[in-house]
C-alpha cells in the first residue's frame, strides 16, 4: 500500500510539472530571440536572454492602447458586477418578498443559457445602438453575472439576521443597512467576486473579439491573439510569447496575492449552501 502511495506521488509530481511547464516555457521563450527559441534540441534555460521581443511588440503594435482598454473594461466589469451581485445576493439571501423564488430561479437559469445563442442578437443590438467597436459594448454584457449573484446569495444567507434587525430597530434605512453593515461584513465575498470578475474580464476572448472592430476597443487578450496566430499558424514566436506573457502576468500576480480567496470562492460557488 505504501508503494502505491509513492507511485501516486510520483505521478502527481510528474503531472504538476507538465502542467506548469508550458508557463515556464512561455516566459523563457519571451526572453529569447526567435532563432534560439526555435532551436532543436532546445535550450531549457533562456539562451542569451534579451528583452528585444518586448521592445518589438511595444514598438510594432499599440500594446499600450490594448492594456488601457483591457484595464478600463476590467474596472467597469468588476465595479458593476460586484455591486449588482451583492445587491441581488442580499435581497435573495436575507429578504422575504413575493415572487422571490421564481425570480431567483429565473435569474439562475441564465447560467444555463449558452452565451453563444445570444451572440448574434447581442452583436446586432450593439451595432444598431451604434456601440459597435466601443468599450461599453465590450463590458456591458458581463455587468450582470448570474454566477456572481448565486455566490453572493450563498454567502449573504449565512450572515446573522439579528445585526440587521437591530439596525432596523434603530431606524436605519435599507440602503444604509446595505452599505454600512452588509458590505463591510462581506469583505471575503467582495474579494472573491472582484477576483473572479477581474480574471474573467481580462481573459475574455470570444465577445471582445467579435465586438471590437479596431484597436480603439481591442483588449490585450484579443490583440495578442490576433497578432500571434492565424488559424493555427504561429506568426512570430517572439512576439507571441512576449504577448502571451503580458496577458498572463497580471493574472498570475493576482493569483499569488489572493490564492485563499480563489479557493474559497470556488468552493462556495461550486456546491453546498
Amino acid at each position: 500500500m505504501k508503494l502505491l502511495f509513492y507511485f501516486s506521488l510520483i505521478v502527481l509530481i510528474f503531472l504538476a510539472i507538465s502542467l506548469l511547464f508550458p508557463l515556464y516555457w512561455m516566459f523563457k521563450g519571451s526572453f529569447e530571440m526567435m532563432g534560439f527559441a526555435m532551436k532543436i534540441p532546445p535550450f531549457f534555460l533562456p539562451h542569451n536572454p534579451t528583452i528585444q521581443n518586448y521592445v518589438n511588440i511595444f514598438i510594432q503594435y499599440p500594446v499600450i492602447r490594448w492594456i488601457l482598454n483591457s484595464s478600463i473594461v476590467a474596472i467597469f466589469t468588476v465595479g458593476m458586477s460586484v455591486v449588482f451581485s451583492c445587491m441581488a445576493g442580499y435581497a435573495f439571501g436575507k429578504k422575504d418578498f413575493p415572487g422571490k423564488n421564481i425570480l431567483f430561479w429565473l435569474l439562475l437559469s441564465t447560467m444555463m443559457i449558452p452565451f453563444h445563442i445570444t451572440l448574434i442578437p447581442l452583436f446586432a443590438t450593439m451595432k444598431s445602438l451604434g456601440l459597435y467597436d466601443t468599450l461599453p459594448a465590450v463590458f456591458l454584457p458581463s455587468a450582470c453575472n448570474a454566477g456572481g449573484m448565486f455566490l453572493a446569495r450563498q454567502y449573504m444567507s449565512t450572515l446573522p439576521s439579528d445585526i440587521l434587525d437591530a439596525a432596523r430597530m434603530d431606524g436605519a434605512g435599507e440602503f444604509k443597512i446595505f452599505t454600512l453593515i452588509v458590505i463591510p461584513i462581506s469583505k471575503p465575498l467582495v474579494a472573491a467576486l472582484s477576483i473572479f470578475a477581474f480574471v474573467g474580464s481580462w481573459e475574455n476572448f470570444l465577445w471582445p473579439l467579435i465586438i471590437s472592430g479596431s484597436n480603439s476597443s481591442r483588449t490585450l487578450t484579443v490583440g495578442v491573439a490576433t497578432i500571434s496566430c492565424a488559424g493555427g499558424a504561429m506568426i512570430d514566436l517572439g512576439i507571441a510569447m512576449s504577448g502571451a506573457s503580458l496577458v498572463a502576468l497580471p493574472l498570475i500576480i493576482f493569483f499569488f496575492m489572493f490564492q485563499k480567496y480563489f479557493t474559497k470562492g470556488i468552493t462556495l460557488g461550486g456546491i453546498k449552501g
Binding site: 508550458p22 532551436k39 435581497a91 440602503f175 481573459e203 488559424g231 499569488f256 470556488i266
Partner: protein, 295 residues
C-alpha cells in the same frame, strides 16, 4: 391571501425589488431578449442588412449540410473523451493531495490552478509552439525515444489529441479544488471506524469515499458536459477547426457562419441545437439527479 394583502407585502418589501432591479434589467437585455431573438433569427434569412422570414429553410439547409453533422460529431467526441478524463484525473490528484500536509496541499492546488487562471489564449499560444512539428518540444521529446515526428496539428487524430491535452491542462485545476473540498468534508471518524473493522484502502474508497463524493461527481459531470459541449477557444487558436474540419465544433461553426460569412440565420440554427443539448442535460439533472444534490 387577499389581493390587497399581496400589494401591501410588495410595497413593504419594495427595497428588495430595488436591490434586484439592476440584475433583472441585465437579465432581460443581455440574456432573455437575445435568447428569444436568437431563436427567432433561426427562421429568418438574415444578415447585417436585412431579415426575411423563410420558415424552416435554415433548418433543412443545416441538417443537409455534412459540416453540421461533422461538427456535431466532433463536439460529441470531445465531450465523451474529455469529461471522464478530466473527472478521473482531478479525482486522482485530489485523492493523492488529501494525504499530504496542509502546506503541500495548498502548494499543489496552486500549481494545478495556475494554468487555469492563465487565460485560455495564453495557454493555447504556448501549446501551439510545443505542438509545432518542426521546432516544438513534443516532437523533440518523442525523438529522444526514437519516435518519428508527428504533425500534431496537421493530421486529424493528432490534432484532436492535441486539443484534448490543452483543454485538460487548463480545466483540471478548478475541478481539483472542488474535489478536494468534497473530500475534506468527509468526517475522519468514518474512516477510523472502518479501519477497526479491518477495511483496506480499496474498500474504504469504494464503500465510503466514492458514495460520499457522488453529489460532487454529478455536479462536475453536469457542468463539465455543458461546458465542453461549448468547446471553442482552444480549437480556434490551435487548429482553426482543421485539418479537414477534423476539430470543428458547434460553437466554432457559429463563429464562422455568423462572423466570417454573416449568415446569421444558419448560425442561429446551430445555436438552437446547442441550446437544446444544454437544456436536455439540465433537464436530466433536475429530473433524475436533483434528489441526490443539495443546493
Amino acid at each position: 391571501m387577499t389581493r390587497g394583502n399581496l400589494f401591501h407585502r410588495i410595497w413593504k418589501e419594495r427595497s428588495a425589488y430595488f436591490f434586484i432591479l439592476p440584475t433583472l434589467i441585465g437579465f432581460l437585455f443581455f440574456s432573455l431578449k437575445p435568447l428569444i431573438e436568437g431563436i427567432r433569427l433561426s427562421f429568418y434569412e438574415a444578415n447585417l442588412r436585412q431579415q426575411v422570414f423563410i420558415g424552416l429553410d435554415n433548418y433543412s439547409k443545416v441538417f443537409q449540410d455534412p459540416f453540421f453533422w461533422l461538427s456535431l460529431k466532433n463536439t460529441f467526441l470531445f465531450v465523451v473523451v474529455l469529461v471522464p478524463l478530466i473527472l478521473f484525473i482531478s479525482l486522482f490528484i485530489a485523492l493523492v493531495i488529501s494525504k499530504l500536509s496542509s502546506f503541500w496541499q495548498s502548494f499543489f492546488k496552486g500549481a494545478f490552478y495556475l494554468p487555469a487562471v492563465s487565460a485560455g489564449v495564453v495557454m493555447s499560444l504556448v501549446w501551439l509552439w510545443i505542438f509545432n512539428s518542426t521546432y516544438g518540444l513534443f516532437n523533440y521529446i518523442l525523438s529522444i525515444f526514437h519516435i518519428l515526428p508527428i504533425t500534431w496539428l496537421g493530421d486529424d487524430n493528432p490534432a484532436r489529441v492535441a486539443i484534448i491535452i490543452v483543454v485538460i491542462s487548463w480545466v483540471v485545476g478548478m475541478k481539483i479544488i472542488l474535489y478536494s473540498s468534497a473530500l475534506a468534508a468527509i468526517p475522519k471518524s468514518i474512516y477510523e471506524a472502518s479501519e477497526i473493522d479491518g477495511a483496506n484502502s480499496w474498500q474504504k474508497f469504494w464503500n465510503i469515499t466514492w458514495p460520499l463524493i457522488t453529489p460532487m461527481t454529478i455536479f462536475l459531470l453536469v457542468t463539465l458536459t455543458i461546458g465542453i459541449s461549448q468547446i471553442w477557444e482552444a480549437i480556434f487558436l490551435l487548429t482553426g477547426g482543421g485539418p479537414h474540419y477534423a476539430t470543428t465544433s458547434l460553437v466554432l461553426r457559429i463563429y464562422q457562419l455568423g462572423f466570417l460569412y454573416f449568415r446569421f440565420g444558419e448560425a442561429s440554427v446551430y445555436a438552437v441545437v446547442l441550446l437544446m443539448i444544454v437544456f436536455t442535460i439540465a433537464f436530466f439533472q433536475f429530473r433524475y439527479l436533483n434528489k441526490k444534490l443539495e443546493f
